[in-house]
């Protein structure tokens, strides 16, 4: 029976490995075109006028389709030209038979194919590392709350990210968090080296693997941690940027063609200048710089000579500009990768050459293969560790130090014994750049967040465990993301009419009003004053009279099912609890102190009453709950009453940390205009 033929595991789509620029260089032309193997999905079928439903004789999988699937919808509108470009039909039999369209700069349908292939590859990398389906950030309409003055936020599931491959006419591309859309630009190049690129040629950002992967990562992080777009610390925006670069960078290493080529060219020494370490090749060349735009390993100096970057322990303390600060993190992670890679490759080199030195002649092709494999393995491990760490990060105000601790803790939970020295490699690379995580002794044991066993009241912990197991049972096997979303929300909220208690109510009952108020507050970094009046004094909201505690929000509840390298299965629930307060300050020149009597409830205090020196301050925690033991496993918290952090946020947001902003159009104006990412990537500095 032909209907028994299973759906294919992959959709094979041709594309550029890096960007079109490399196809015109003899040395790199062969490795630059590759076939992306994208996990098969049913794309939205085209309506076929007149065609009756054929009662299953022809499976849906062979219908003509639009470039819109479970995660993305590509809408190719070019507003500057006033044209809509026809959506590519990736299910056309001819395209199915020849791995999609031939790479071409002048064919907009190929552009759609390229964007689809790279975005889906990036999404897949996240899902594999996180052990669950990814969600985009929610759409949030605001409506007046019934019978209240304040506005209520409503959260709506967003199934598909909207993708516009030709939205802008500038050397820029960005993720717009309000539109839930990716906007790619195109522009005329003005390269430093006319041999590589024709001056005046059109460069499309939607054809660059790095740019696509980078922007997709912004959207993915926004879906995981909505609060990370808030600039509350010099690290927050820089982290967004750096992480997006890290994903783009390590994705290169999953392409065997590119990898083999570069390993052969550098004779296995990836510390040398190589294409894999450079982001956004063509983009960088087109606007007149040398080499890639953001180069993790090194950069060309004034005379066009390539130099490796030398880490400096002062880097972290001194560099405040967002992209430069981001580069510190990229360099640290790349450094860790190189250490891991080199320890693997040294063996191979010794076998091949008799000593561990880099050989001088061309490498044997078999050796190139083996080295490429080692690089691919190291890279995919590093990428997975980096992504997985996101589950161990606090829900807001992330610093590099927090991230380092998240990396180490997440890896510790997955791999009990660090035989390959991964964790040490990371710590060393971060330490070299002055990133400490506020821990004096940079030992692995110190950086791992402590276990929380026994820190909750046993009975309460049990009932929480029960509730979360129910969650696992009801959503653990759902495959539809919208259903998954709706069900999770429902289990958080509960249903008063059906007298079904939600997670929110449960926490309030068993911890906040159940006698362990103090203990729970200490553990989570939240505050639970006894009554409405006390809450208001602290700037905390007490939403309804019927509530038993100051308001707090459950941001995320995620299941994480992961198989460890040792074959164990980890069953965790990750959830975040968040509170917010309005904080006023007493400012005297550069001396800033929290005004202890000036806290205000943000949502019920109009802008005009907040005074000039205030911030909206958030605190809370990420809880990791182990479903197997029914125990709270780890807590990563940012205290809501941390005055030091309040002052730091104030200073940062008011430019007192030595960061200079563009003064004509304030950066705030720019950010709010099209989201924080719109202007971070326009290269004016």
């Amino acid at each position: 029976m032909q209907s028994d033929i299973p759906t294919p595991p992959f959709r094979r789509l041709r594309g550029y490995a890096i960007d079109p620029g490399l196809s015109t260089q003899f040395q790199t032309r062969l490795m630059n075109q590759l076939v992306y193997k994208v996990k098969w999905e049913q794309l939205e079928p085209r309506e076929q006028p007149g065609a009756e439903k054929k009662g299953g004789s022809r499976t849906e999988a062979t219908c003509d389709s639009y470039p819109a699937g479970e995660y993305l919808e590509i809408v190719d509108f070019d507003p500057a030209t006033g044209r809509f470009y026809e959506p590519v039909n990736l299910d056309h039999p001819h395209l199915l038979a020849q791995d999609g369209l031939q790479p071409s700069v002048s064919n907009p349908q190929f552009h759609q194919q390229m964007v689809y292939a790279v975005m889906m590859t990036t999404i897949e990398n996240f899902e594999r590392a996180l052990g669950r389906k990814i969600m985009w950030a929610e759409n949030i309409p605001v409506r007046p709350a019934p019978g209240q003055k304040k506005l209520d936020l409503h959260f709506q599931f967003v199934r598909r990210l909207r993708v516009y491959p030709h939205a802008l006419r500038q050397a820029n591309a960005y993720y717009d968090p309000i539109k839930k859309a990716m906007l790619f630009g195109y522009f005329n190049s003005a390269p430093a080296n006319a041999q590589i690129q024709l001056p005046g040629a059109t460069v499309f950002t939607c054809l660059s693997h790095d740019i696509i992967a980078h922007e997709t990562t912004h959207a993915l992080i926004d879906g995981l941690h909505r609060r990370y777009i808030d600039a509350t610390h010099p690290d927050t925006r820089a982290f967004h940027e750096a992480f997006a670069d890290i994903v783009a960078l390590f994705q290169h290493f999953s392409f065997p063609e590119v990898l083999r080529h570069q390993v052969a060219q550098t004779r296995g020494d990836l510390r040398q200048q190589n294409l894999l370490g450079q982001l956004a090749q063509q983009f960088g060349q087109a606007i007149g710089g040398y080499g890639g735009l953001r180069d993790a390993i090194g950069e060309f100096d004034k005379d066009g000579v390539w130099k490796q970057k030398i880490p400096n322990a002062q880097d972290y303390a001194n560099e405040m500009e967002c992209h430069k600060r981001g580069a510190i993190l990229v360099a640290a992670v790349f450094d860790a990768f190189l250490t891991i890679y080199e320890s693997r490759v040294q063996k191979l080199m010794r076998i091949a050459t008799g000593d561990a030195r880099t050989p001088t002649g061309d490498l044997h092709p078999d050796l190139v293969d083996e080295i490429a494999k080692a690089a691919a393995k190291s890279a995919s491990d590093v990428l997975r560790i980096c992504i997985r760490a996101l589950d161990y990060c606090p829900p807001m105000d992330l610093t590099y130090g927090d991230y380092l601790r998240a990396l180490i803790t997440a890896d510790h939970d997955m791999v009990a014994e660090d035989t390959n020295g991964y964790r040490v490699a990371f710590i060393e690379a971060f330490q070299k750049r002055g990133i400490s995580g506020g821990i004096k002794n940079m030992a692995v044991e110190e950086l791992v967040y402590p276990l929380c066993h026994g820190m909750l009241d046993a009975a309460a912990e049990q009932s929480l465990g029960e509730h979360l197991r129910n969650l696992k049972n009801s959503v653990g096997y759902l495959t539809d993301r919208q259903e998954l979303y709706a069900m999770t929300k429902d289990l958080i909220r509960g249903d008063r009419k059906q007298k079904r208690q939600g997670l929110h109510g449960l926490i309030e009952d068993v911890f906040v009003s159940g006698g362990s108020r103090r203990k729970f507050a200490d553990l989570t970094g939240l505050m639970f004053p006894p009554n409405d009046a006390a809450a208001k004094k602290l700037g905390l909201e007490w939403a309804y009279i019927t509530t038993k505690s100051a308001s707090y929000a459950i941001g995320n509840v995620w299941l994480a099912n992961r198989v460890t390298p040792d074959g164990n299965i980890v069953n965790h629930v990750v959830m975040t609890l968040v509170q917010k307060r309005g904080v006023r300050f007493k400012v005297n020149g550069k001396t800033v102190n929290v005004d202890e009597k000036g806290f205000f409830v943000p949502d019920s205090t109009p802008e005009a009453e907040r005074g000039p020196d205030h911030i909206i301050f958030r605190g809370g925690c990420t809880l990791i709950f182990d479903l197997d033991t029914r125990q709270l496993h780890r807590v990563i918290k940012k205290d809501i009453d941390d005055h030091e952090r309040m002052v730091l946020q104030y200073k940062f947001q008011h430019g007192l940390l030595g960061e200079t902003d563009e003064t004509y159009f304030s950066s705030q104006t720019m950010n709010a205009l099209a989201g924080p990412f719109a202007f971070m990537h326009s290269h004016d500095h």
């Binding site: 002048s106 605001v142 802008l168 539109k179 159009f665 099209a674």
Partner: protein
């Protein structure tokens, strides 16, 4: 060698009419005024001082410059630094017809970028012109669609902030356009062979054509040259520092980092397609038809929005009524803000930069117009030969900066028009005084406080600001700054005249 007939003092009169430059320099041999020079006379739109009407300024100029027994004001040299409204507005022949029409002007000095014979200038000007025209189209379009954009985000979380940002942005954009004497609602003034904008061009043309008719005509100056000694009184050397001749003119902001120069100048901005797109949009509105270069894929590729509305896919995605907030018609125009700054910077960098040296003492008066970073950096590529007695000496930009005793602060004291290490930090002369023509709340980021702080340190408090209510020069005159010695204070006071109409300082 002191020459009896050498100029030994210069009075610099800074008028206080608002946010704009107007400086009258009078050169003296002992008690005799031997030479007069007016540097700029303009104002940014909507920044007039309430206290000092421009007519008073013009009246004072006429009174000061009309020789006894004559009926017409006589001016030896008129300098127009660059084509921005806040520098040349009042030379406009129809808006202000009776301001300068009766002046007898010996020479008009302009930068080489205004020279119609200069090919590089022609290229630069055509780029600037296209840019300004494009910007105006963008600004009009953004203003027109503001309501539409605000409606899109209404009712969404953070939507109120996005809406406010949109409004702020459009205001800022208009603010920049104010430098060209334009407003976004004033209609398209793009003219194929015109210059940057019709209004500033008219003013500039009036300077070079009409106002120069009474004397020797227009002189255009190249960087690295000196003003011919026959045009100026003895005892004075005038060095031309800018605008720079190659490349540097497009660099308006400081580069960060040691080696990376990823700035987008006007010529390599990557914004060509943006500008083209806007010009086509502008021509569309004016009844022209868009050319083929409008599309990156050539003509005939794709379908127009009307046809797309009935396409089943676009109908339920892009045109879905519930997803209006996800549409992108106008997002490509947002780069106009950044582009406006670049354009503004590029035009500022076309400023004629003059260093006026009193040969006897070596003291220098620095008038940089609105020169920004690129211009400053290029000064150091220049060298001048100058005769001192029987010897020929080489003068560098560093020498001139070290000997500067009066610094007319570039670009009204903004953050990117006074270079630190190769500029301000070299101005170490103990008599250094700074003058800033500027009015409060006229332009965000001006006055740039850190610059003002540093100026106050270097000048030991002798910083004179024309029209900023926060920093009145009357206050400078009243209180002796701590850093000044009693003798210095006495000396400074004796050279300073503060009036409602102007601030005048004498260099001796």
């Amino acid at each position: 060698m002191a020459n009896e007939k050498s100029v030994d003092s210069v009075k610099v009169r800074m008028y206080r009419h608002g946010f704009g430059d107007c400086f009258l320099l009078s050169f003296y041999q002992a008690e005799n005024r031997v030479f007069t020079m007016l540097i700029d006379c303009g104002i940014k739109l909507n920044t007039k001082s309430e206290k000092v009407p421009i007519t008073d300024v013009i009246a004072d100029l006429k009174a000061t410059l009309t020789p006894p027994g004559k009926k017409f004001p006589v001016l030896d040299v008129l300098v127009a630094t660059h084509e921005h409204w806040d520098h040349i507005a009042y030379f406009h022949p129809t808006k202000f017809p009776d301001f300068f029409a009766d002046f007898k002007i010996g020479q008009v000095w302009l930068a080489w970028t205004e020279d119609p014979e200069d090919k590089e200038a022609a290229t630069i000007n055509s780029r600037l012109r296209d840019g300004a025209a494009a910007l105006q189209v963008a600004s009009m379009q953004l203003a027109k669609t503001e309501g539409e954009e605000v409606a899109k985000v209404a009712g969404l979380y953070m939507g109120d902030q996005a809406a406010k940002a949109r409004a702020d942005f459009n205001v800022s954009l208009n603010n920049v356009l104010g430098f060209y004497g334009l407003k976004s609602d004033s209609g398209i003034t793009y003219k194929k062979d015109g210059k940057i904008s019709v209004e500033t061009e008219v003013a500039m043309t009036n300077i070079s054509d009409k106002l120069s008719q009474s004397g020797d005509g227009v002189k255009y100056f190249l960087p690295g040259t000196k003003v011919d000694g026959r045009s100026i009184p003895s005892g004075v050397n005038i060095y031309v520092l800018g605008p720079p001749k190659k490349g540097m003119i497009n660099k308006s902001t400081p580069s960060k980092g040691a080696s990376k120069e990823t700035y987008l100048g006007i010529d390599n901005s990557g914004l060509t397609s943006f500008v083209d797109g806007l010009l086509h949009l502008g021509m569309d509105k004016a009844g022209g038809s868009p050319g083929s270069q409008a599309s990156p894929f050539g003509e005939g590729v794709g379908i127009d929005p009307e046809a797309a509305k009935s396409d089943p896919y676009f109908k339920h995605t892009y045109f879905s009524p519930s997803e209006k907030h996800r549409t992108i018609e106008n997002n490509w125009l947002d780069i106009a803000g950044q582009f406006a700054l670049q354009l503004d910077g590029a035009i500022n960098n076309t400023s004629l930069v003059l260093a006026i040296e009193l040969a006897d003492t070596g003291k220098v008066l620095l008038f940089p117009g609105d020169a920004q970073v690129g211009s400053w950096m290029s000064w150091h590529d220049c060298e001048w030969k100058v005769k001192r007695g029987s010897k020929t000496e080489t003068v560098t930009a560093t020498d001139l900066l070290e000997n500067t005793v009066l610094y007319k602060v570039s670009h009204h004291g903004s953050h990117n028009a006074t270079v630190k290490d190769k500029g301000l930090e070299l101005m170490t002369h103990p008599e250094l005084v700074a003058m800033i023509p500027e009015k409060e709340n006229s332009y965000s980021g001006i006055l740039y406080e850190p610059l003002l702080d540093r100026l106050n340190e270097l000048c030991k408090g002798r910083v004179l600001i024309s029209a900023d209510a926060k920093y009145p020069p009357e206050k400078v005159e009243l209180n002796k700054p701590k850093q000044l010695s009693a003798a210095e204070w006495k000396e400074f006071k004796s050279k300073l005249v503060v009036k409602e109409l102007y601030v005048e300082y004498t260099i001796r």
